[in-house]
Symmetry: C2
């Protein structure tokens, strides 16, 4: 009914062409042809919901491939679900498009979403498409489910608990400045939400969150909300061979990795007798997990050298503003 005022087709044609196909496996999305969608968690479950916005020039680069921008936007939200022990169901996408975004960009973007929908068994349930005079802005809201009361919170860490982290730390932060390493760049562009591990940690982890702003900054949230102190042994922080090859083994390199953003790994605590249970959960979910420290009485996060001395950290993580 409405006519296009630019080279792009109308909002409605664009939704029909690129986004409606992504909602096919979700009956509650009504083919993206209604005002809203319907979501019901499985019996005995509740919904876990989270939203993250990504902005061109802040969270991704205009030159990044559109399919990886799409996948990153979806994955950072799925990573939140993973850290909460939630099984993903679907998502809503609010996309604000500047004039320079044309059909090939949108085609690649939608293709990226489709690939990740297959990989993580999620569907698009709805969204909003608008134009913006500013940078491309994406806001995704993701939905998952947990058995009633089973969401893993940030608030359950107790003195004596062990501290673990999944995967490796610092890759993405280095990838942003190391275009020569395909591995590190891919870790920046396409984080891996640790969904299988997150579900396996239900009933095991006492506290958990996803590491997005820097390992030490995010562990600080567990310390704050749980009212405890976290001691982290610098030498135990897992770094990839690629990152070690570029930045070496010095203390500065470790601090840099532990304070860089965009890891999207899971940091969690467990009671001290859970070490073997965690190892089994890690094996069962095919995800590396490393014990990096201990929960104590007190406050804050403290990074320790092999002699047990505190390493000063000027800036524990990414500063949003």
């Amino acid at each position: 009914m409405t006519n296009s005022s630019s080279d792009r087709p109308s909002e409605f044609d664009l939704i029909a062409k690129f986004f409606a196909p992504l909602s096919k496996s979700a009956p509650g999305a009504f083919g993206l042809r209604d005002d809203a969608a319907v979501i019901a968690p499985p019996a005995g479950h509740e919904l876990v919901v989270t939203t993250d916005a990504l902005i061109e020039g802040v969270h991704f680069l205009r030159s990044d491939p559109p399919d990886t921008i799409a996948r990153k936007a979806l994955r950072v939200n799925l990573s939140d679900l993973a850290a909460k022990g939630a099984a993903p169901i679907g998502y809503l996408l609010a996309i604000s498009l500047p004039k320079h975004v044309g059909m090939p960009w949108l085609e690649s973007f939608a293709h990226g979403l489709g690939e990740d929908q297959k990989e993580f068994a999620v569907s698009l349930f709805g969204g909003d498409t608008t134009s913006t005079p500013g940078p491309l802005t994406l806001a995704i809201t993701a939905f998952g489910s947990v058995p009633l009361g089973a969401m893993i919170k940030r608030s359950g860490a107790n003195p004596g608990d062990l501290v673990f982290v999944s995967g490796t730390i610092g890759d993405a932060g280095a990838g942003l400045h190391s275009p020569q390493s395909d591995y590190l760049v891919s870790r920046y562009r396409m984080p891996t939400p640790r969904l299988a591990l997150g579900c396996a940690l239900r009933g095991i982890a006492s506290a958990s969150l996803d590491v997005s702003d820097g390992l030490l900054a995010d562990l600080g949230h567990i310390a704050d909300v749980s009212g405890v102190r976290l001691s982290v042994e610098a030498a135990r922080i897992p770094r990839s061979p690629e990152l070690r090859g570029i930045s070496g083994e010095g203390q500065d390199a470790i601090v840099k990795a532990a304070t860089a953003g965009d890891d999207y790994e899971i940091a969690f605590t467990t009671p001290p007798d859970m070490r073997t249970t965690v190892e089994n959960a890690a094996r069962g979910s095919n995800t590396a997990v490393t014990e990096i420290g201990r929960v104590e009485q007190g406050r804050g996060v403290h990074l320790l050298d092999p002699g047990g001395n505190e390493i000063p950290v000027a800036r524990p993580g990414f500063v949003h503003f």
Copy 2:
């Protein structure tokens, strides 16, 4: 832990000061101190979810009062829930802030949300706060609940059905260009989600949607998705005394009202024997409702003059791009 790089407090201080108080009545929001929130619909119900983004310079003006920007952002989402017959529960807010936004703006913005939370019995469940080099951008995702299967869709209109619309049409579109009328300006800045009416229409309306892009454009969606033709009598389209005072009684004025955006009224269809039931629902929800037309076999939306002749409409609604 992180330090501010501008005059604003850190992201975390800002959330604690302005947004966490808005989550107090929602236990599943965990005080906005976790990665995600938990939402469970009441027994026998399912969740209705919708998202809408609002951008400075597109959906609101930089000079608009911050509290009305907040309330409009929330209300346009609640309006979608209303049109679906859903009872609102809460919302997520992703807010992207340009540098010029300071503490007084945020205080007024949060105050506006708080006022509407009281008015509509909703809570903030979570969100995301980031900086942007572009215009202020808000994406709200709203959650409501309906009894299983009771969401009112766009797809149920049948030939013979009656067409209704709530409230008055064209006020907001005129308000954008009529700063001399407080009433019309307030209709642009602060739409009224017709929540009580929407719930009362469950089981009564055969199809429903909220009017945001223009009455005729949005009725076109019901026509498309239901596979029917809608005939609307121009003379029956309800316009406020304020709007009639400014734009008069001519056919052009009616067409302008019926194609202006931002009404956030509910347009719906019902079987022909439901006229009295609709009148009772309108009275019970204290919301004016006007019968404006008829569903027929065919396609599209057709605006008719008192003689039954079609009035040509060049542009049925707001064009997003």
